[in-house]
């Protein structure tokens, strides 16, 4: 039963908006049924038991979507009717309250909605007997009006609830088919945190096709983030989860924007944070929706999170089938908001790789998979790099476990603090990478390339002449020898000097972020490294 307070607090526009969302869903499902019908044409000419079974099955699914669309399309009308009834009841209650307030002797209880007036003459009450009687009559009238409005809202609520109760899937004659142990994966059967990517891959391969779909659709939040799940499956699970999260963020952001000057300080802060999240998600959304071409391959969403500064792992190109995969680890200030900029770097390295190795398939992974320090003060500590280690190592192991050819050429590129993340990971974990590249590095946590677990001949470094990070040569970062120091033992390659700054050494922050610029020699050199070109092809600073 709806109370007076429930009615006062009710937001009928919420029902209207939910009605719109149901209507949109019904329309989408209607389209789904049509799409399936069209796609079924691809089975024309196929005969036999399997053909018959597949056709019958897909026809059943199409009919299911059709029926779902039909029933779901009835929901909006129910909700809009209820919304109208609530709006009407609220108007009547508000009118009654306004009338009572105009007669100062008539009082409406804001908790219960009961209307009252003093029964007789209290001290100081100079009303006539007639006026007392008139006030009492008005109070009774308003009390009845409010009670009737609440009763009507209750009735409308009960009718709507009953009508919705008749619109369940079972009322439409639908039921779940993909049930039973051969078709579903229960939470207890999902990969455990301590499973290696190789074990996860084995688990995945042992699932039936329907169990795999169950894992993707029902446990997408887990499947989408587990290293060792094949890239395509991981991407599908994450895209579905992404649609939910992006819609949620957009809806909340739109609501806050609509408030305008009525936003509170807290809401202003929330909107600022949501704008950052929105920018990052929008960059991912655009990348996932980009039409693939020869130079701009299909993108895959390998993980994302919106908490804190946000995370996102996006592969441009499929690492499971690529000949070469490059994982780019950004540094200080990175987060979901920097996704657009980082995806641009992925494009440019793919362009360069395409020139260096025409015909080879290269995938560029944008790995914002850790909580990066957000300013230089935070970046003075190594804890961010240490905490990122297990995740980066697991991710690289996952690439190896799911590669269809048994493993392509893998390169990790760390920029600025990202190089520290790679160094710490290689030092403290087994980092699966054939090449490591450090750009504008403040130090990687070791004093010599040989401590990184791979041949020093596959450890590369470059720091632009004007990069502000060189100022650190005079202020130790505390993360070991600089990778461009000769004593470090890495292969140093050339980068353009970069934008000149102020002061005696011309250092600038701009030069710290120009390694991926087109025409920059560092980008050309990275293209050679990620495609496995011989070290003699690299240009070096002394040339």
């Amino acid at each position: 039963m709806v109370s007076f307070q429930d009615l006062r607090d009710a937001d009928p526009s919420a029902y209207d908006d939910i009605a719109d969302q149901w209507a949109r869903l019904a329309s989408e499902l209607d389209g789904t049924a049509l799409d399936i019908k069209q796609a079924t044409g691809g089975l024309d000419g196929w005969s036999g038991d399997a053909a018959e079974m597949a056709r019958e099955h897909i026809d059943g699914v199409r009919a299911g979507y059709d029926t779902a669309a039909e029933y779901i399309d009835r929901i909006p009308r129910v909700l809009r009717t209820l919304s109208d009834a609530i709006t009407d009841a609220q108007r009547r209650v508000n009118d009654a309250i306004a009338t009572a307030e105009a007669h100062r002797i008539v009082h409406v209880d804001r908790e219960t909605g009961e209307v009252s007036t003093p029964p007789g003459h209290a001290p100081g009450d100079f009303r006539s007997d007639e006026q007392v009687a008139a006030d009492r009559a008005l109070a009774e009238e308003l009390d009845e009006a409010i009670a009737a409005a609440v009763a009507d809202a209750t009735e409308a609520d009960q009718v709507a609830s009953r009508q919705l109760g008749d619109l369940m899937p079972e009322d439409a004659g639908l039921g779940l088919r993909a049930v039973g142990s051969g078709s579903v994966v229960t939470p207890s059967r999902l990969p455990q945190d301590d499973w290696s990517p190789a074990r996860v891959r084995q688990w995945w391969d042992e699932l039936t096709p329907m169990q795999q779909e169950s894992a993707i659709y029902t446990h997408g939040d887990r499947i989408g983030s587990v290293d060792g799940i094949p890239v395509e499956a991981r991407d599908r699970a994450n895209r579905i989860r992404f649609a939910d999260e992006f819609a949620d963020v957009n809806a909340r952001r739109d609501a806050l924007i609509t408030l305008g000057d009525d936003r509170t300080l807290a809401e202003d802060n929330e909107l600022r944070q949501l704008n950052d999240v929105h920018n990052g998600l929008e960059a991912i959304h655009d990348r996932l929706g980009r039409e693939p071409s020869e130079t701009e391959p299909q993108a895959y969403l390998l993980d994302f999170a919106t908490e804190g500064n946000g995370r996102g792992i996006v592969a441009t190109g499929n690492p499971d089938t690529a000949d070469n995969t490059v994982t780019n680890v950004p540094g200080t200030g990175s987060g979901l908001e920097s996704m657009s900029n980082e995806l641009g770097k992925a494009d440019r390295i793919l362009e360069t790789a395409g020139r260096e190795a025409p015909g080879a398939e290269t995938a560029a992974v944008t790995w914002i998979g850790y909580d990066a320090p957000q300013d230089l003060a935070e970046a003075t500590g190594g804890s961010y790099a240490d905490e990122a280690g297990a995740d980066l190592a697991g991710f690289q192991d996952g690439l190896k476990a799911t590669h269809e050819g048994g493993g392509g050429l893998n390169t990790v590129i760390g920029h600025s603090y990202g190089s520290t993340v790679i160094g710490h990971t290689a030092r403290d974990h087994e980092l699966h990478a054939d090449n490591m590249v450090f750009l504008g590095s403040p130090g990687v946590g070791v004093d010599h390339a040989s401590e990184l677990g791979i041949d020093p001949g596959n450890v590369y470094a470059s720091t632009a002449e004007n990069d502000i990070i060189r100022a650190g040569a005079y202020v130790s970062h505390g993360w070991g020898t600089s990778p461009v120091d000769e004593d470090f033992g890495a292969v140093e390659f050339e980068a353009d000097p970069g934008t000149e700054g102020w002061g005696p050494f011309n250092h600038s922050t701009a030069a710290h972020s120009e390694y991926w610029d087109r025409q920059n020699e560092s980008l050309e050199n990275m293209g050679r490294i990620v495609t496995g070109k011989d070290n003699t092809t690299l240009t070096t600073p002394t040339e």
Binding site: Q21, A39, V61, G173, L174, R177, M210, R252
Partner: protein, 106 residues
């Protein structure tokens, strides 16, 4: 080639499979979008029976649409196997779909 399916038609079969997976994912995405969009109304109209009923309704349809997507994508995934071996795909289709049964109804 078993049951008269020509080699040059395998590509169209596999492409249809890919399309079924895309369609299933798009439907699941539409439902996820729906869920995300209505989420901001959590807590609104809590005193109304309809609100509780709506949550149940959304949950039940969620399961149902999940089920339909799984079935469409499974069929699509199986058909994509014809890129590799038609014979293996045929066996997998019969084995997997027989277990699920057909029809959109209960």
């Amino acid at each position: 080639m078993p049951d008269g399916f020509e080699v040059d038609q395998l590509v169209s079969l596999a492409e249809a499979g890919e399309r079924f997976v895309e369609i299933a994912d798009a439907a699941a995405g539409a439902h996820a979008e729906f869920t995300g969009a209505v989420q901001r109304h959590d807590g609104a109209n809590s005193g109304f029976a309809t609100t509780g009923r709506l949550a149940t309704l959304a949950g039940m349809w969620g399961y149902q649409l999940d089920d339909l997507s799984k079935r469409a994508a499974t069929t699509g995934g199986l058909l994509q196997e014809s890129y590799g071996s038609y014979e293996e795909m045929e066996v997998a289709v019969i084995d997997s779909l027989d277990r699920i049964g057909s029809g959109g109804g209960a």
